[in-house]
């Protein structure tokens, strides 16, 4: 009898820990790689980024389909996929990391919490450690994640030919803005 109570308790804990995960499939990630004197803007946005947070452990993961980036000009999108990130070979960029100050974030209380994130960015077949500061905004049971960081193309073996160096910068400013819902499972 005692043991069956224990069993129920274990089961309910398990289900509670599931509810502590948040996710989205419509996260917004945009990048800007416009060189200082470029006549045109080199930027793109992906509105279908996947993001998952485990509020208990502070684990934070992103997955972005490279072909999902939208550009102002169709040719730019083609060149991005074919010549720079080689989307047919490396279709996804992922980030797997942790919120290092997770204990200071109260996911059940509305508020704006500064968050430090550390993890590995895997893009174009290369993995690089990334550390940045962002914000976690809790509002009405939803978790909004915002962050900015730079990625150097050299680190990811993305070659920018001399011919376009006056337009395309050596790094991309990456801007993350995702609103996550509780993961019901």
């Amino acid at each position: 009898m005692k043991i069956s109570i224990l069993l129920i308790a274990v089961l309910s804990i398990a289900s509670v820990s599931n509810a502590q995960k948040f996710f989205t499939k419509t996260g917004k990630i945009n990048f800007d790689a416009t060189a200082p004197k470029s006549p045109e803007n080199i930027d793109g946005v992906n509105k279908n980024s996947i993001c998952v947070i485990d509020s208990k452990t502070g684990e934070l993961q992103f997955s972005v389909l490279m072909k999902g980036f939208e550009f102002e000009r169709a040719l730019m999108m083609e060149h991005f996929n074919e010549n720079y990130v080689e989307s047919d070979k490396f279709n996804k960029t992922t980030f797997k990391g942790n919120i290092t100050n997770n204990e200071s974030i109260n996911y059940s209380k509305d508020g704006v919490y500064p968050a430090k994130v550390k993890g590995k960015l895997d893009m174009h077949g290369q993995t690089k450690d990334i550390e940045t500061e962002g914000k976690i905004i809790i509002k009405a049971g939803k978790v909004q994640v915002t962050a900015n960081f730079n990625a150097q193309f050299e680190d990811f073996k993305i070659a920018i030919p001399q011919l376009v160096a006056d337009k395309v910068a050596k790094f991309a400013k990456i801007n993350v803005d995702c609103t996550l819902d509780p993961l019901a499972k």
């Binding site: 274990v10 398990a14 995960k21 947070i53 993961q61 169709a74 040719l75 010549n83 992922t94």
Partner: protein
């Protein structure tokens, strides 16, 4: 006692299972989408292999401004390798949807206008409902605007018009290799010789071998099933057009540099009126310059 032991084992295994679930990647919990249908793009860098249409389509809302040059024959003396003279075509091509494109052009050769519509019922794709090849159809016409050879005769406007129809079956086999076959019919409303057929059937072959991200080797050949004319001494008056070239992409432009035995730059001209012979080295240098403009912006 027996029972509680069983319970403990059950409990232990459940805990282990919970642990295993935790070790699983977080993303696997949500990233369960199957790959969507996706059209295979960049089979060629441009909408023309060299002379003939390629299996590639313009992106919707873009315009391709094309400047084509064909220089004089390389084997002519005192002609700076043919560069002293040039024939050209200006073209504007528009992408309407991923499956529909049209274009117009004007050539100096015979002061000819041309226009076409290109439609792909099926494009090569991956993911769900994938298809291994692109099947496209092209319908076009050309209009000669030279003065009538004999203005005193009763001339018909329709005699200046020719039509062509083409089917393109192409496949991008890998990032580096693309091949296509294009059965074509060209109909001339009027032909200069009495024994010359009005309908010329040809099969086009085209391909690309990508050398690196920005350059590719291309070739384009049309085999004429009928329509090769011969003079009294059985010497051919026209030949199958063969062009060999290199595509260079510079970011904003695509340059297609090539050597060809054909001077014509529309289907009627290069299929039925290629007078140069590769054997006699009657070949010319030429280039296509393509610049794509975004004309409609999606917001």
């Amino acid at each position: 006692m027996q029972h509680s032991k069983l319970y403990y084992i059950a409990l232990l295994s459940m805990l282990l299972m919970a642990d295993a679930a935790k070790a699983q990647d977080l993303l696997d919990l949500v990233d369960t989408d199957k790959p969507k249908k996706e059209v295979v793009k960049n089979a060629f860098k441009s909408i023309r292999v060299i002379n003939g249409h390629s299996m590639e389509f313009l992106s919707p809302g873009t315009m391709d401004f094309r400047i084509l040059h064909r220089f004089g024959q390389l084997n002519q003396p005192n002609n700076f390798g043919g560069l002293d003279q040039a024939s050209m075509r200006l073209g504007f091509d528009f992408g309407l949807t991923r499956y529909l494109q049209f274009g117009v052009g004007r050539s100096t050769f015979k002061k000819e206008f041309d226009g076409y519509i290109k439609l792909a019922p099926i494009r090569q794709s991956t993911g769900t409902h994938a298809f291994p090849a692109t099947i496209a159809f092209v319908g076009g016409m050309t209009l000669n605007t030279l003065p009538y050879a004999d203005p005193t005769a009763h001339n018909y406007f329709t005699s200046r018009i020719a039509y062509y129809g083409q089917m393109i079956i192409g496949r991008k086999f890998s990032e580096g290799i693309t091949l296509q076959v294009s059965p074509t019919i060209v109909h001339n409303n009027i032909v200069p010789l009495a024994n010359q057929p009005n309908d010329v059937y040809a099969i086009g072959f085209g391909g690309r071998l990508k050398m690196n991200k920005r350059t590719a080797f291309t070739w384009d050949y049309y085999y004429l099933i009928n329509g090769i004319q011969k003079d009294a001494a059985n010497v051919p008056l026209n030949y199958n057009p063969l062009s060999i070239g290199v595509d260079i992409e510079t970011g904003g432009h695509v340059f297609q540099l090539h050597v060809s035995n054909s001077a014509g730059m529309n289907e009627r001209a290069f299929i039925t009126e290629t007078t140069g012979s590769w054997e006699k080295f009657d070949v010319r240098l030429g280039f296509n310059l393509s610049r794509i403009f975004q004309i409609s912006h999606k917001k």
